[in-house]
Amino acid sequence: MLLAVVRRAFDMVFVMFGISVIAFLIFFATPGSDPSARIAGRNATPEMLAQVRASFGFDRPLYVQYGRLMQRLFIARDLTSFVNRGQKVVPAVLQATPVTLSLVFGAAVIWLTAGIGLGIVATIFRGTVIDKGLMLLALCGVSMPVFWFGSVMNLITQSRFHDTWLFSWVPGLGYTSFFESPSLWFKTLVVPWFTLSVLFIGLYARVLRASLSENYQEDYVRTARAKGLSESRIMLRHALRTSLITLLSMFGLDFGALVGGGAILTEVVFNLPGIGRLTYQALQNLDLPFIMATVMYSTFFVVLANALVDVAHAWLDPRVRDAR
């Protein structure tokens, strides 16, 4: 048991290390991309370039640069922005975290409820028009670019129907902290929540529908019927219970990726100052310390989510539990 935990932790560290190396190489060692040229500006003289290179340490060997970056990011925690000199990276990331968490958490509640609900309803009516209609709707959700849907939602709630009773309550784009005003926090987030969740509702409904109808072919559902169980009990306690394991694994990974900055497009469209938008701004300025910080931050969540999903999987599925 202890060995398994240690191995798991080692895996996590290994993957994070690998990702940090890849990210570092992408930004610092891609042929043709010179970070000092970026910092020095377009019309920099060779002397200025050399000066920038020396002061930022870009003339050192790559592994020294990597080591220094990691040391300042994780140990000293005093890494500062290349662009706005003096702005510390770690506090900025920590400040953006609650915004992203608020967005993703609310969306997750919506997409889990709606996705599971739609999946169940479609399975109950499988083969009928209701099933086909719901699945078509789900497929549309999966097929939409989220930033486009966000724009359309903005168009509807901020402009076209903003003056009607329907959407007059929607505040302007931006973010208000929960502790400042819970009601405003809620109101600003409703539309982004909905937008972000639509894709996942479609995805989860489709996966659940497929998984459930597969389960309904299984012998144990027939046994459950032969036992005299009601259809709702068969669905909830037998078929769904088995499908939920798959769904939960998916959920863990999706949630981790979103918290880690995967909601970048939604955050940009709705002007929410979360991790995704922070990353986006850093990327636009090629602000390397920020990029490395956000990449490591998001990797941490993705890797953590992976580990948690494995644990949860083992906890929920007795077959996996015994296999290890």
Partner: protein
């Protein structure tokens, strides 16, 4: 992954007259019976054809250069002259608003912020979106097929290294990886030895999108090859003294290719969405070239005044991706009904 189709993929006797219908033909005829899939395919073909006619449309119907800003131009609508960029009547009258949809040949869907014909740009953009999606999918499937097969078939240290690498890329949030690569490469282009890919080349988004999705396909392929290598019919071939290369070609590859075919439409729909996202963040297709994503980006500033600029390319994306998904469902049913595909993240 199924092994059902494998047995029939094995060589089917020397007598050609009695050769049963191959698994490919069976699958194809099954696919052709799927009305929704066929309809989607035809619809996709018509989308491709219409984007291919972009030059003709620009020259003869819209009669504008969709890559040239046209801020002072005039057109005639039912005999009345109309400015393409009309001064705002509200407020201070300082801003200008591009012309809205005319529903005639010229400026069918109106103009964008630079006075360019949106309809014509939609067709040109579609070309690029489809080219990027198609090429990156091809690249991704090729890479994934090779990596997955090599990793699964050779095993040992090669497998360890490759699957570790895949694990890492897999854990790298896909958009972040794509965006990171794009940002760096878009600024200067990519220099690999003597080859230089300029920063405005379509090859950049194609390569980036193709590479980031490799683990999605390579991991299942690796698993499939692993199972196949242990399957009874491969064991039988080994026992019969078949050379390894022959086993690879006759027994393993046909199955890998089937899986790749099943993945193709879904990966393509994913590529279209990814390309549009990158372009929306202005790190995909670079101006003056257009793609559906860049047009949506162009339309952001006009969202509340001329929403059609942003809405139209979005609809084009949705319709194309929907068709690809329908086609993907059909292909999956026809080729490998038991395959479990889970593609699509954030």
């Amino acid at each position: 992954m199924t092994i059902v189709s494998n047995t029939s993929a094995a060589p089917a006797g020397k007598d050609k007259r009695n050769k049963p219908k191959g698994p490919w033909r069976t699958a194809l005829s099954r696919l052709l019976r799927d009305k929704l899939a066929v309809a989607s395919f035809l619809f996709l073909a018509s989308i491709i054809l219409s984007t291919a006619s972009a030059t003709y449309y620009a020259d003869h119907i819209s009669q504008t250069d969709p890559f040239q800003s046209n801020l002072d131009g005039h057109i005639e609508i039912s005999g009345e002259p109309a400015e393409i960029m009309a001064a705002d009547s509200e407020g201070l009258g300082l801003g200008v608003t591009p012309i809205g949809p005319t529903w005639t040949g010229q400026y069918l869907l109106g103009a964008d912020a630079q006075g360019r014909d949106v309809a014509a740009r939609l067709l040109y953009g579609g070309q690029n979106s489809l080219i990027v999606a198609f090429s990156s999918t091809a690249l991704c499937l090729l890479l994934a097929g090779v990596v997955g097969t090599v990793s699964g078939f050779l095993g040992g240290i090669v497998d360890t290294i490759l699957s570790r690498l895949l694990d890492i890329i897999w854990a790298f949030p896909i958009y972040l990886l794509a965006i990171s690569l794009s940002i760096v490469l878009i600024s200067k282009g990519l220099q690999i030895g003597p080859f230089h890919i300029p920063s405005n080349s379509l090859l950049l988004p194609i390569t980036i999108i193709g590479v980031v999705y490799v683990p999605y396909v390579a991991r299942p392929i690796r698993g499939q090859v692993l199972t196949l290598a242990k399957s009874d019919f491969v064991l039988a071939s080994v026992c019969l003294g078949m050379p390894t290369a022959r086993i690879l070609v006759r027994d393993i590859l046909p199955n890998v290719v089937t899986t790749l075919i099943v993945f193709a439409p879904i990966m393509m729909s994913l590529s279209i969405l990814t390309e549009s996202s990158l372009s929306f963040l202005s790190i995909g297709v670079q101006p003056p070239a257009a793609s559906w994503g860049t047009i949506i980006q162009d339309g952001q500033g006009l969202l509340y005044t001329r929403p059609l600029v942003a809405i139209a390319p979005g609809l084009a994306i949705i319709i194309t991706v929907l068709c690809l998904n329908f086609l993907g469902d059909g292909v999956k049913e026809a080729f490998d009904p038991k395959a479990k595909l889970r593609v699509g993240k954030d």
